[in-house]
Symmetry: C2
Subunit: 336 residues, 2 copies
């Protein structure tokens, strides 16, 4: 059987900057046609110039002409209609972080006061700029995403023409929202399809599986699997692949983030062939995203085969998910 | 104000063996009059000879005549009345581990078949040997202890003359059981009075706060605090202090266990003086345990004072809880 994925897209990716960017950008660029690039650098990406220059650095680092970085801004409620009008052709979305909920999110939104947000969100609606959201409160770690549901609902109902992407959803509550509001969409990571809190902290503690939002309960994973495996048209793959050096993970204070980008296609192939089919994988990993974001993507055909592959122990200084373990599928060929 | 604790007891302690024993035994022996010593060595302590020789090694390592190690056996349903009769004067309890639920528990009990257990438990009742239990199922990590409640209830009601110690309880469900069955008692650790899952995995991941049972929800911690701070007569301090070398904690697979023994008295003093009083601390840390276990304890008076203390970064190769942080109380004097 020939396993073909056309123009895979990673709709939620962290590439960081500097030396780390040089290590990880080629690992995504080789396998994917494009990726939505998260703006939470230090300082975050908030101006047109920063978008342009970060994109340029990504293109230089990625060494692959068939990879398109879709850029984002770090949401600020101070973005004016004029600013957005000027920047809209350079970005594919604006990413909203509640303050303090994850890596480099300190400058994010505090409180969700509609009066404060509405000018910016109305202009985004007008220009058809999707709002991408890290949907967590500052509550108890297992409740944060479920508690955020009411904010998703408030935004979805008050801004019906705004496309809202619930990023890296992890709970059954978030899955349920998808069919309740026409303008809510979602990304799902590979690792949240694979693991629960039991994998992170149920046996030995595994820092390389620690991320935000944290992996939840088995019934949450089941809801994510069901909606992803069905090829649901509002659901896209977004790896949230986040590289941290090994010594920032295996430490007394471990940073949040799971590194999956270079093995995501192989593991998704295994998951979908065992639980769904290749058609739905194609929707999850490319077609749905093209429709939701209304984008043209570089042509890239990834051909996989059933052949054992040992996941490397490290990519540069970064330890990937399931480091050193054997998986079932390998990349055979990439045709651009 | 003079802060005096008389004959503090640690009713749940891991001292391990070999080099580690030599590092940690003096740290408990200096501050405590005695401790219930967990038997989960490799291989576990299951014979009279092993109890005697392990006790001897502890006494040699602890270098303090005013410290009494109260020994335990690793529960096996094959222990006969004859064996128990012979060993009963050498032990203070028998510790039951469900198989596979924590460090070195592989040889534990699988299933809780009353027919299989009753001979041993009836003999333990007859000889008044307390049954100490690590009460977790193999279920989802946040549910394991709550799921175990029905087993506690089954044992408590079927063996009304058996003293059953619910070790290191972490949930409101376990607290509620205390007043429902006359023969159920509990230990509570320092760290479960201090932290929730938010401290382990809500900000950065903190391997030195990772233990089994894992820290639970804020409302669970509240229930533990309430019952401990009240001086409830069925509740005892058991640190579950468990030393692992730093490189086994700050690793891709991190062992479970929080090391608290040498700073437990200082931190408990702070907690109780802020939330309760010294009388209830005395009950929690000594009097209740003496009554429950019906033991005489070596006299040791620990005098503390309000003076800043910086927790060491390491004791040997072991990183303690709150390493490097400043706390409010110091040990002033120990009078034996």
């Amino acid at each position: 059987m020939s396993i073909v994925i056309d123009s895979p897209l990673d709709m939620h990716l962290h590439l960081r900057d500097g030396d780390m960017l040089k290590v990880v950008a080629p690992l995504s660029a080789t396998y994917f046609s494009g990726a939505i690039i998260m703006p939470n650098l230090i300082p975050p990406v908030t101006t047109k110039d920063e978008v342009i220059s970060y994109k340029q650095r990504i293109i230089e680092a990625s060494k692959d002409n068939s990879f398109n970085p879709y850029m984002t801004l770090f949401f600020k409620p101070t973005y004016s209609r004029e600013f957005l009008s000027e920047v809209k052709d350079k970005i594919s979305a604006i990413k909203l972080y509640p303050a303090g909920v994850t890596t480099n999110s300190d400058g994010g939104v505090t409180g969700f006061n509609i009066d404060e947000l509405e000018d910016t969100l109305n202009s985004m609606s007008e220009f058809n700029i999707p709002l991408s959201i890290h949907g967590e409160t500052n509550g108890f770690v297992m409740d944060r995403e479920a508690e955020f549901a009411s904010i998703y609902e408030m935004l979805a109902s008050n801004f019906p023409n705004l496309k809202i992407i619930m990023e890296h959803i992890t709970t059954r509550e978030s899955v349920a929202l998808l069919d309740r509001y026409e303008n809510l969409y979602a990304t799902i990571t590979l690792h949240h399809l694979l693991i629960t809190l039991d994998d992170v902290a149920g046996g030995m503690l595994q820092p390389h599986l620690f991320c935000k939002p944290i992996a939840k309960r088995p019934e949450d994973r089941e809801a994510l699997r069901e909606v992803a495996f069905s090829g649901h048209p509002k659901v896209m793959f977004g790896s949230d692949s986040a590289p941290h050096p090994q010594d920032r993970k295996e430490a007394s204070f471990c940073s949040a983030g799971v590194f999956t980008a270079p093995i995501a296609l192989q593991l998704l192939t295994e998951l979908f062939l065992e639980n769904s089919n290749l058609d739905n994988l194609q929707k999850f990993i490319s077609t749905n995203a093209q429709n939701i974001y209304d984008i043209e993507v570089p042509k890239k055909r990834v051909i996989l085969e059933e052949r054992d592959f040992i996941i490397p122990n490290r990519y540069g200084t970064v330890v990937p998910i399931y480091a050193g373990e054997q998986i079932k599928y390998s990349i055979k060929e990439i045709v651009c």
